[in-house]
């Protein structure tokens, strides 16, 4: 990108007329205090491209496919929609708050805490409204996925903390809270915890979720066999202490998580 679109004449003109270009270079120089800016904006990989308002608020993240001046202008149009919706919500226009929250969640503009707070502040219409309920259900789905991501990321490398997070996710599953789409980061620790708790029911739910997602994956065949054996052991009451089988290579993990 640095030798491509950011070096073009189009970009130089765009950067000088339409926006204020800000470059942040994470250096890892000891004592450097500005490296934290990247993390504070929720950055997880390089390069990351954001549009910010004059108060530093995140307005948009530019996807890889849109990293050209044409794409930047398209993102600005999306920002205009967002700002219109914010104005409407601030004025109290009917339904604008729910549309705004949905858009902000879909565009990854909020922290989990702020999103939760906004969800709690939504005003429910007095009359039953199917459209509103559908949007709220979508918001709740996003929030649940966000909660899982936030929890998993909070675990870090410490074994004890990861166990706590696994226990929390397991409790969610026990209470019937499952992600709508398959979520590897959810089901893996949940199954591990279910196994250590001797809970065949939750373990089986996880196995079924894995089957639905990776049932035809040849590299998963041996894992499924092991999982089935684990399930049988749990159902017979003899598998409470064994550990969940892990893939033998990084390649398998990357393949099944879709990371490559």
């Amino acid at each position: 990108m640095e030798s491509g679109s950011l070096s073009s004449q189009d970009f130089a003109e765009y950067a000088s007329k339409d926006v204020v270009p800000y470059l942040h270079v994470t250096s890892r120089i000891p004592g450097n205090t500005t490296d934290a800016i990247f993390r504070n904006y929720g950055g997880t990989g390089f390069p990351t491209l954001l549009f910010l308002d004059a108060d530093g608020g995140k307005l948009a993240k530019v996807a890889g496919a849109d990293r050209s001046v044409e794409g930047f202008k398209k993102t600005e149009e999306q920002i205009a929609e967002l700002l219109e919706l914010r104005t409407a919500a601030a004025k109290g226009d009917k339904g604008a708050d729910v549309d705004l929250l949905l858009m902000e969640l879909e565009r990854g503009l909020l922290s989990f805490e702020l999103a939760k707070e906004k969800r709690g502040s939504l005003v429910t219409p007095k009359k039953s409204n199917a459209e509103f309920e559908d949007k709220v259900a979508r918001i709740d789905g996003h929030l649940f996925e966000f909660e899982i991501t936030t929890l998993v990321r909070s675990a870090g490398p410490a074994t004890e903390k990861r166990k706590q997070v696994a226990a929390t996710l397991y409790e969610m599953a026990k209470n019937g809270r499952f992600p709508a789409k398959f979520n590897y980061s959810f089901w893996t620790p949940v199954m591990e915890e279910a196994k250590s708790q001797g809970d065949a029911t939750i373990f089986e739910k996880g196995l079924n979720a894995f089957r639905e997602q990776y049932g035809d994956h040849p590299r998963f065949e041996s894992r499924f066999k092991k999982m089935e054996a684990d399930l049988q052991a749990l159902q017979s009451g003899s598998g409470a202490t064994a550990q969940v089988e892990v893939p033998k290579s990084q390649a398998v993990v990357l393949a099944v998580t879709g990371m490559r």
Binding site: D55, I79, V244, V246
Partner: protein
């Protein structure tokens, strides 16, 4: 090794392979090299967030924030 523990490990190994321990002078040199590249002066980038925000306010523009790194390629 547990399944759940493998993901951070994989991430860690990946980071470790791209970011070996580097001394401060090396990191400073890499940073200086990055911000001296041609594309940086070409785009008229500012390296100070407060300055960018103040300009955005004054000129009624959005900030176009590009995040990259210098410690690794």
């Amino acid at each position: 090794m547990r399944f759940f523990t493998l993901l951070p490990l994989v991430a860690g190994l990946s980071l470790a392979s791209t970011a070996p321990a580097q001394d401060a002078d090396d990191l400073i040199a890499k940073y200086e090299a990055e911000i001296s590249e041609k594309w940086v002066s070409h785009g008229g980038w500012t390296l100070d967030l407060d300055e960018a925000l103040a300009r955005a306010k004054k000129e009624n523009k959005l900030v176009f924030a590009y995040f990259t790194r210098s410690y690794a390629p």
